[in-house]
Amino acid sequence: MFRMLARLILLLAFSSAMAKTTGVAFVHGTGQQTDAYDNYWQPAMVNSVVQGLSNPANYVVINCDFSQYMWASGAAGCLATQLTSFITNNHIDDMLVITHSDGGNVMRWILSNPTYDSRYPAIIAATRWVDAIAPSSAGTPLADAVMQGNVFESSLGWLLGYQNDAVRQQQTSWMAYYNANNLLGTSGRPALPKGFWDIVGTDVTYAPWNSDAYCGGYTLNVGLEITKAWLASCADGFIECTSASAAGSQWFYDYNGVGGKTLSHNQSRRACFGLDVVLRNDL
């Protein structure tokens, strides 16, 4: 309700001002992507969402190395480069950013640290808001689980990055530090300069006889059955609901937004159960 009201306020503001050029950016999660359009989001998701634009060509699918720390040149630096090019080349002055998982942290770094990089203020100024799908805002216990082993291995393993830095960063104690000191928008901290709207996945459907388990790829959901056991009861198989809701404002829990269905962590980046239409209508 709040979001609908806010959207109406912004639309009224835009209609009374000069015409805006709206664009949308898709920001992937942990990992290095060179073709996130095909491999991370898949065409069905992207092509459906951009139909909500007056000019459906005004979109960019980000391809960066989010195996690095969020502030690193390959992460936030790369994201800033690609967003700046998108804004400049397409004359975008009303940008919606759709993030998934750790992509929310990288975007939140930019929103929170405008003096860190001279390109950040223009990106923030052009951003209408961020739709953060399953953001790992408070980290995930799964990152703690796989990083802890390094203590018992050689220090060389730690030094050389046995796990990638993004996994290390998403440990719960690390994200608690960054939220308290380097990122805005969590409880007790100043708000972000632009809206950061959380879509929260609450459960995983993995039973082979349930057709819902097959959206987004059944094999991707099978592992979530056991990873969910590491997490609180409300979780999408990778991110707990408390983490996905930790920064910004809650937009909706999956079952409230996609017709009573739940979105696993893999399904929430795919055109599952009408999520693409919800995002399209938000443009």
Binding site: S101, V146, Q148, G149, S155, P190, A191, G223
Partner: protein, 402 residues
């Protein structure tokens, strides 16, 4: 309600008719460097990439629930990790669970990849011996776990014990094991939870930080605690935990900035042992903290002025050497109800080339609407952008009336 915040960006403006104000006395939780230090070599390298152009931005905030008091993270553990050799796994590794439904993970370590067959792994519990497959409700290999986003090593095997497998003393054996493995046991429904926290989330180099391990379920007690700290560069040091009167354990450590690397955090790990019905229970916990170098501090004074309706607060800085420093602060003003309200967060960064300088926080006239003196600057922070290290933090920085 979803609102559209304005972001104001401007270069440092000339200050007319400034009034000098003095910083408030720091509170107990504030971090204020006592003396400046020369920067480390790692910081010097990062400094070469820094921009010299000053930037000042602010955005309005209207949140009444801000809290500038640092709250160190409390890690809570229902799990442990143990590295085991193939000879141990051949003979059987004993461990204790305190609740049914434990998750057990075996991961090859040291670069060797020797995946295990769950049918060949034996679990002995309650006088029975079952294969991991038979004893478990769910089994997943590395492929499935990685597909789910869990970055486990190749050859990893994880299984969740069925409720019928019970709890208590268990033995896991893997006759086909080759090399070394990490045994990770997580008990999601256990009430035996070990906590670990630091007394602060950021510590200045060469100042002490204290860690405390607790077990406060009213039933069990910590018997033994050991630990280590790990620095971002791979350096590690033992933590000497000692028992406190309340049954918790504490250890103090003094970090050396030479092992810091930018915004990467240090970690403290506690490996604990307690008893459950006479059986030893292992719990491992970890928490993270940052180490900063006191390369600058607030000099104690600020110049407050208004320029075309905008409010400027120029904070005086003393530095041990040149760098790009970042200052931020939340401006509070008095509303029509006579109470202080958060108005805006300003963030500014500028190059400080000598031993002294000044960084200006600018609050736009539009954000000051309907607010009047007295004003306060809270959550005042000073960061060295060469390392992004938090040098100084004051929950209440400045109060002024103009």
């Amino acid at each position: 309600m979803k609102t559209s915040f304005s972001l104001f960006a401007c270069f440092v403006a000339s200050i007319a008719s400034a009034q000098t104000a003095t910083l408030l006395a720091p509170s107990a939780n504030d971090q204020v460097p006592a003396k400046l230090v020369a920067p480390s070599k790692a910081r010097d390298m990062a400094m070469q990439k820094l921009d010299h152009t000053p930037v000042s931005v602010a955005h309005a905030i209207n949140d009444a629930t801000l809290d500038a008091t640092p709250k160190p993270y409390l890690a809570q553990s229902r799990e442990f990790w143990r590295e085991v050799a193939e000879s141990e796994l051949h003979a059987g590794v004993k461990f204790t669970t305190t609740a049914a439904g434990a998750l057990v993970r075996l991961s090859p370590v040291g670069g060797k990849v020797a995946a295990l067959d769950p049918n060949s792994i034996q679990l002995r519990a309650g006088g029975r011996t079952l294969s991991a497959t038979a004893a478990s409700a769910t089994v997943a290999d590395a492929h499935a776990l990685r597909a789910a986003g869990m970055a486990v090593p190749e050859g990893t095997l994880a299984f969740r014990l069925a409720a019928a497998s019970g709890k208590g003393e268990m033995v896991i054996a893997a006759p086909q094991a080759q090399g070394r493995y990490l045994l990770h046991v997580f008990e999601p429904t256990s009430t035996l939870i070990v906590g670990l926290n630091a007394d602060r989330d950021t510590v200045l180099a060469n100042a002490p930080i204290t860690f405390r391990a607790t077990l406060a379920d009213g039933v069990h007690a910590l018997r033994l605690v050991s630990g280590i700290v790990m620095a971002p560069d791979g350096y590690s040091a033992n933590l000497a935990f000692t028992r406190n009167a309340d049954g918790s354990f504490s250890a103090t450590f003094t970090p050396d900035a030479a092992h810091s690397t930018g915004l990467q955090l240090w970690e403290a790990h506690a490996i604990t042992t307690s008893d459950d019905h006479g059986l030893p229970v292992q719990r491992d916990a970890k928490t993270a903290f940052a180490v900063s170098e006191a390369t600058a501090h607030f000099a104690g004074t600020a110049q407050v002025s208004k320029d075309a309706g905008a409010l400027h607060v120029a904070l005086d800085i003393a530095a041990s050497n040149a760098s790009r420093y970042q200052v931020s602060g939340v401006l509070y003003g008095t509303g029509s109800d006579g109470a202080l309200h958060a108005i805006a967060l300003a963030q500014s960064a500028a190059w400080v080339g000598g031993s002294t300088g000044s960084i200006d926080l600018a609050y736009a006239a539009t954000s000051l609407k309907d607010m009047h003196a007295p004003f306060e600057l809270r959550d005042l922070r000073l960061v060295d952008q060469a390392s992004m290290g938090l040098i100084e933090r004051r929950s209440h920085g400045l109060a002024f009336s103009n």
